[in-house]
Symmetry: C2
DNA sequence: TATAATGACATACGAGACGTATGTCGATGT
DNA sequence: ACATCGACATACGTCTCGTATGTCATTATA
């Protein structure tokens, strides 16, 4: 019966990841002392080096965890949408909302790229892109949007969404900015449609 | 006559910024030793702390220098374009090409945000946005693109361009990827036009 | 059941790197 | 000519990381 043993190990790893996630998310990767956040969960750097190799390895694990959560959340959103087009728009706005969370901003969007290199080289970040690409591909095959390169579009939209999140998060009036960003996104997406709807959004406009 | 004096000082500052820029651009901010790159130009950390306060202050100076160069280059591009719309597209592609340079990727796009906080909080990064916003505003006032929020659009496009640059830079075939990205950009921009050009047209490049 | 072996983790140590406090020396102003 | 100031160097302390080593419990084996 080697259950308790492996359970303890998994728990240790989970504790380390959780502690690091909290530290990275608050004070940032560079200012997070390994001695501090390991002792915060009753461990030392010995455990950390044993399980993750080095500080960077722990960051990778944290990023992977957050990425998995983001994937799951996006999947949940897209799964309960009826129309294809609406589902796509919903997923985009959900993605934008996630990118607003301070923990994600700091760990995934700022420290992650700085320490681990460009997100385009990570295995995970691509899952969102792939999912988006697949959606765009179906949309163009079904004649809903104009033909084009789905992956290229997905990457461009992804960048636009992430950047919009930063804009919102650092805006003096996040809610108003959020509305402007969402409207801008819808405007951009609308431009992709074969038969654009005359949205009341910019008809009622500014 | 205190010219030579101030000139020496300016030269010292320039040497520090240049040395830091080279170090940050190659090994990255975190792994750039202040002792190393100051001694590379015949100085010590004393000069650095005297002029820039700390390592972060030096990074700010480096980022400001690069940003100023980017602004100047963009201005040069847009100034010699005849048609408004073509000028805008040219500026976008020039921006994308700049974002491809490894030094800009590393210092401005990765380490900068991680160390200095989100670019949206910098004073500089906004100049590109402002310029783009102004362009979009004129384009919509002149009835070339649909009405909309110019700043929001500018920020979204800015994010798309930066992200596209990362995609290209980390692609196994950068040239082919670049073509796909540019085409995607043109597709997106085309969607903004009041009277989009016929679809196959912009695939062939105009 | 006794023993060997493995692995999970802690502890001890050394190496840089940063920031500060202090010192020096030349230039500047009167 | 002298006092001041500022540009820069040097010395020191502190923190953090990574490695090398040690210990102890668990597991496998006989």
């Amino acid at each position: 019966m080697h259950r308790p043993r492996s359970e303890m190990i998994a728990q240790t790893r989970a504790k380390l990841v959780a502690a690091a996630r909290k530290a990275f998310g608050t004070v940032g990767y560079a200012d997070a002392s390994m001695d501090d956040f390991t002792s915060a969960v009753g461990l030392t750097r010995g455990a950390l080096y044993h399980h993750f190799g080095d500080k960077k390895g722990l960051l990778e694990a944290v990023v992977a965890e957050i990425d998995a959560e983001m994937d799951a959340r996006l999947l949940a959103v897209s799964s309960r949408s009826q129309s294809q087009w609406k589902g796509f728009v919903d997923e985009c706005t959900a993605y934008l909302e996630m990118a607003l969370e301070p923990e994600i901003q700091r760990i995934v969007l700022r420290d992650g790229p700085s320490v681990l290199g460009d997100p385009a080289t990570w295995p995970n970040q691509n899952k969102c892109i792939l999912s988006m690409s697949a959606n765009l591909k179906r949309l163009s095959e079904d004649g809903i949007i104009r033909p084009g390169d789905p992956e290229a579009l997905a990457r461009l939209l992804n960048g636009a969404l992430l950047h919009a999140a930063s804009w919102i998060a650092n805006s003096p009036e996040p809610e108003a900015t959020s509305r402007r960003a969402v409207e801008g996104i819808k405007d951009l997406l609308n431009g992709l449609l074969c038969f654009p709807v005359a949205t009341p959004a910019f008809a009622s406009g500014r």
